[in-house]
Amino acid sequence: MILALVAGIGVPIAAFGGALGQGKAAAAALDGIARQPEAAGKIQTAMIIGLALIESLVIYALLIFFLLLGRLPATSQILSLIK
């Protein structure tokens, strides 16, 4: 039961940290576009890459969640259904 609790609390913490980081990145990108609208294309590309890099840390936590989910008694059958 503790395993279920821990598995459920990991991803929200990672999502919280990831959301803070991505918010800062998007805010900086919007500032840059507001200062120089001609550079909007380059700034947008860099912003998308930065957001994907920050998001990958949240995805690592999601992977641990899936691994733990396979060890919980009832959900291993659900996962085998999906695969």
């Binding site: 998308i48 994907a52 890099l53 990958s56 995805i59 992977l63 899936f66 259904l81 999906i82």
Partner: protein, 212 residues
């Protein structure tokens, strides 16, 4: 499945470059020229001057990963990239290639010296840190692509299983449609991130030392 995608892409490329004309007469050649020039501009904008020789690798990587990701959104199929084996093998190829590009451009001594770090009396500390950092790059590339595509697929599968059934086995309300639209966006972004990170690593390894 991954080899099927590779074979289909190779077949399309070979068939469309059979009769190249200086002013493109067919729409397929036009489309291909458009995509090749866009990829070339993108690669050169990241790597710098000598970037043209890396465009085939990075362009192929981008198109290949994009098509493999999009394959999973077709209802009966599964993405090849939702398997850790395939993404890990792509990451290993990228790792070997950018180290090889670095060694070919600047020589083995410069590559090793870069790993040792700047103040030479700190090399006993910097060497393990740099090695771990270098090894973390293909690891993060593989897990990022795998986690994104696998998570996307799992969410779509769970939403589809939760759909409201109107007539059993015939009609159901498709709850998974918004996630599939988001999945198209994710496929594109993940392919872009993989290939631009590869370009950045090649740029750091190969072109970074030419200014001296």
């Amino acid at each position: 499945m991954a080899m099927l995608v590779a074979a289909v892409l190779a077949l399309v490329s070979i068939l469309s470059t059979r009769r190249l004309q200086k002013i493109p007469a067919s729409r397929l050649q036009n489309l291909l020229e458009l995509s090749v020039s866009a990829l070339n501009n993108y690669t050169v904008s990241i790597i710098g001057h000598g970037g043209e020789k890396y465009t085939p690798f990075i362009g192929t990587l981008f198109i290949y990963i994009l098509f493999m990701n999009l394959l999973g959104l077709i209802p009966a199929l599964k993405s090849p990239t939702s398997n850790l084996t395939i993404t890990a093998s792509l990451a290993i190829v990228v790792f070997i290639y950018y180290n090889y590009a670095g060694i070919r451009t600047t020589g083995i001594k410069a590559w090793f010296k870069h790993l040792l770090g700047e103040p030479i009396w700190l090399c006993w500390l910097m060497f393990p840190i740099h090695v771990i950092g270098e090894l973390a790059r293909p690891l993060s590339l593989a897990i990022r692509l795998y986690g994104n595509i696998f998570g996307e697929e799992t969410v779509i599968a769970i939403l589809a299983a939760m759909s409201l059934v109107i007539i059993p086995h015939v009609i159901a309300v498709p709850y998974q449609l918004p996630m599939m639209l988001f999945g198209v966006f994710t496929a594109f972004v993940q392919a872009l991130v993989f290939s631009s990170l590869t370009a950045i690593y090649i740029g750091l390894a190969a072109a970074g030392h030419e200014e001296h």
